[in-house]
Symmetry: D2
Subunit: 293 residues, 4 copies
């Protein structure tokens, strides 16, 4: 089938390639003319034959996605379908579905996992929306997903795809934190000769074997003590939203939240709160404080 | 080769079977005569031919392991080797090595992972000790470990095996907590039709695919909403030791520790600390309290 | 001076009393005619002499406050001032200020602390808004605040009052949790004869002496082991908002967030996430699970 | 009465002064001859008249305390009493009591709070030991404690004093963390004009008023944004022991533990665990990493 794909960055570019390899026609648009197949969104919509048309949006969550949805609401026709495959907050999905639905345009939200490995291994897809809209996209979902029985789910109503992907990322935060904590502790112990070899051994037969563990071994093979890296980690929004959703539902998420907070702390050159701790210790105990340089 | 194996419970019994399948001779001893090959530890040692003899101890950590080590120190001869494959605290290993070493008996500590799946898939082994003692055990380690390049590591000096296994379990706690938190949050959201199917889809193509995730799907297939289970979890000691080791080394372990604390809380019928919170809220705000029945 | 006061519940009723004791005129309105001085909001506004009028809103945050603000926007005149002294989210303040400002009506937000002790001890006030509006209210703030140099601050622009009060409550959560954790641990130890007497002794000379500690001793005097209480605690919204604000600003709040999560957990009859932990332990280790009754 | 006092550092020196002001005789010993009243422990014991003698040990916990106790076991006589007022781990107390008890010497453990303010305000005392030994020390306890009904407790058996003091310090960690988190969050918000003034206002009428809050205001008066301090905090051992005791008793301590871990993290120039997070993000997502300089 034919698909319009908006956003050809690290993710979108590889997805175009994977869908084409499956024999579908993809017309891609990106603001960067070097990678774009067409010169404008309007041209992309024109180039899509007949009706119904299907357009996949793969641009940054928030304002960028909103403005593409606004444009598509003008350019598309009743019966067409828009898929938001970006990392949008699930609360945006209902708004987009309503805005497009008012014009008779269908909306599907798709959480996409797979990162730089997706072109080769396939992208896991968590999809939300009405059955009729989801059904229309099925050939594209089949092209993108990994082979085998897993890697795709119609998770529920509009928003369920992004919500599931968001929780996936929250879990990911805590799993990464789990390995990271274990790694730091093992590195501190004199009796262990090579932490890297311990990690490598865990890849089979253990309870904690996983793809993330395989990646950790790859990373340690490149730089055994990660000496070239700073202990600095961004967060992409989905960890934050997971905690906010948990607060809305009064669900305690101690491990996921701890994993988010260590990232926040990793980006501080000096910790304001620990200045206050140092100040208080000095006040009551006369404990020495360290001065900034 | 020939191995004496002490402790033929859930783990030891299956290990005897797997080692025998690899063509080795195992003489097993257990206090339970139904499963034991010999009537006593002394008989087990006598039945092992010639020298050097090798005895694998697979009994509960702490007192049980200590008393077996004490007996073996009397029964074995210089040049023999003892392996402690139980879940001993790494700090016990040096004591056992010294006690046996004083008699010329070698000591190796082995952290063993694999649970009820080990007979079929192999047991992951993290081993600590001197190269000469570890070398002597190599055929047994080969028999126990999974096929393929992973699942075995000589982690370092005496204690390094149990330390690595302990950290493995700490990581395991936080990974389980990660999936558990995500599952609870997804179950709270109306838009998601089936959390089980979302979990199932994650088994391929996602960043969080893992063996624990596969097990979670198994569990949800047996009981989709885990309605038959109480939210009650024991802890086996290794999570506690991981946190204690982290404290010794001043390593922050927020996610692993949170995972330990949720287990503690799960075993309380009512939370004493939350009684105090309720009491304080009542004191300053006149907030209603709930009475015990 | 003259003040209209809307909302005469546990807080508002006592505040009316304290302001009157200071010699001011308070006309109070409440939906409950037993405590109300007037029959309607319109009547309250009419009864306030001349201009400018000042109306203090002390109703539940959210919808109730919004609808009172909407009504006041219609009833009041340019130059009048509205104070929101409820537990509104700071993000509502700018909206209310804009809505009223469009009619020339001033807006001040006031975070109020003091609970059931406020009538006697005074209410601590954290106030946000333009200097001219805050100035107009000064006699009322003086009447409400405790004697002495503390207990009142003009914290900043519109929203700063509620934001400061919200952080106050976040800190309160973690302080309560601190005492609660310590209390539970002491209660577990055989060597300590009376935890209540230990708490009592801490009221002077220690680093942790505080008003909350005094309240804890009061509570233990009423019920030494809090045996009559359930370990169940509501949360009022401000703890949640504190964590959300921290996430917005990428500030790690591990202790405050932990304190919020223990409250969430205290309200669950059984923990869904711990069911998953139990299920996973059973899957990989054959560990026994507890069935629901 | 007459007291031998060993250790005349920041704490011991001031305690000698406070006890003398109350009219008692103190013979102090310190390795530093500039502050010592006698030249050796032996001389100190000799100088104490008759029997029973009472010696207060105020030296660093661990090896230093142990060696003083060992010496005193040789120098003192049956019927004498030793008080350990240092920050010893409660588990040491039973050992010291047994060692001294074997010679007929009594032992009392005393947790002492008050820091640099103790000389002026008095020291809070949490005391463990047999009633007969505690009774003998009563005049000294009276001299040290603050005026008024609080600040002293005979908490229970040997060890109960240090255990109570340890929990006191654990609570202190989490209270400090509570204020520190709130301070950092307030400092991030543009609408709040002066966080220092907000803190100052909290000193009366609020739920969170406390001595630590007063100290925080002092610190902010000296350096409004704590710009001169590094966010670096040592920990003295008692926070660690609190968490270890909690683990022994399966008590969840999320806020206190979080407060300990933020201190650990504050002392790391770069976070090893966050290097692993950065490495994993790079592996699966191609996310940029920051290189060490």
């Amino acid at each position: 089938m034919q698909l319009g794909l908006i956003g050809l960055g690290k993710m979108g570019g590889n997805m175009r390639e994977r869908i084409r390899r499956a024999g579908h026609t993809v017309i891609g648009y990106d603001r960067n003319p070097d990678v774009s197949d067409v010169g404008s969104l309007a041209e992309l919509v024109e180039r899509l034959d007949g009706s119904p048309r299907t357009v996949w949006v793969m641009v940054p969550a928030g304002g960028a996605t909103q403005s593409v949805v606004d444009e598509l609401a003008e350019l598309l026709s009743p019966g067409d379908t828009v898929v938001d495959g970006g990392n949008s907050r699930w609360t945006d999905d209902e708004k987009h579905a309503a805005e497009l639905g008012a014009k008779g345009i269908g909306f599907v939200d798709a959480g996409v996992s797979g990162g730089v490995w997706g072109l080769q291994n396939g992208y896991a897809l968590m999809v939300g929306g009405d059955e009729e809209h989801v059904q229309r996209l099925q050939p594209i979902f089949e092209a993108l997903k990994p082979e085998g029985p897993y890697g795709y789910v119609h998770a529920g109503k509009v928003g369920a795809g992004h919500f599931s992907k968001m929780v996936h990322n929250g879990i990911e935060y805590a799993m990464m934190q789990a390995y990271a904590e274990g790694w730091e502790l093992l590195e501190k112990v004199d009796s262990v000769t090579s932490v890297r070899e311990v990690f490598r051994s865990w890849q089979e037969g253990t309870v904690i074997r996983s793809w993330l563990l395989d990646l950790a071994v790859n990373a340690l093979d490149e730089d055994e003590h990660l000496a070239k890296l700073r202990g600095y980690a961004e967060d992409s929004g989905e960890g934050r939203w997971t905690v906010e959703a948990a607060i809305d539902h009064a669900v305690p998420l101690p491990a996921i939240t701890a994993s988010l907070f260590t990232r926040f702390a990793s980006r501080q050159d000096d910790s304001p709160q620990m200045k206050m701790i140092a100040a208080l210790r000095n006040q009551f105990g006369g404990h020495a404080v360290e001065a900034t340089e």
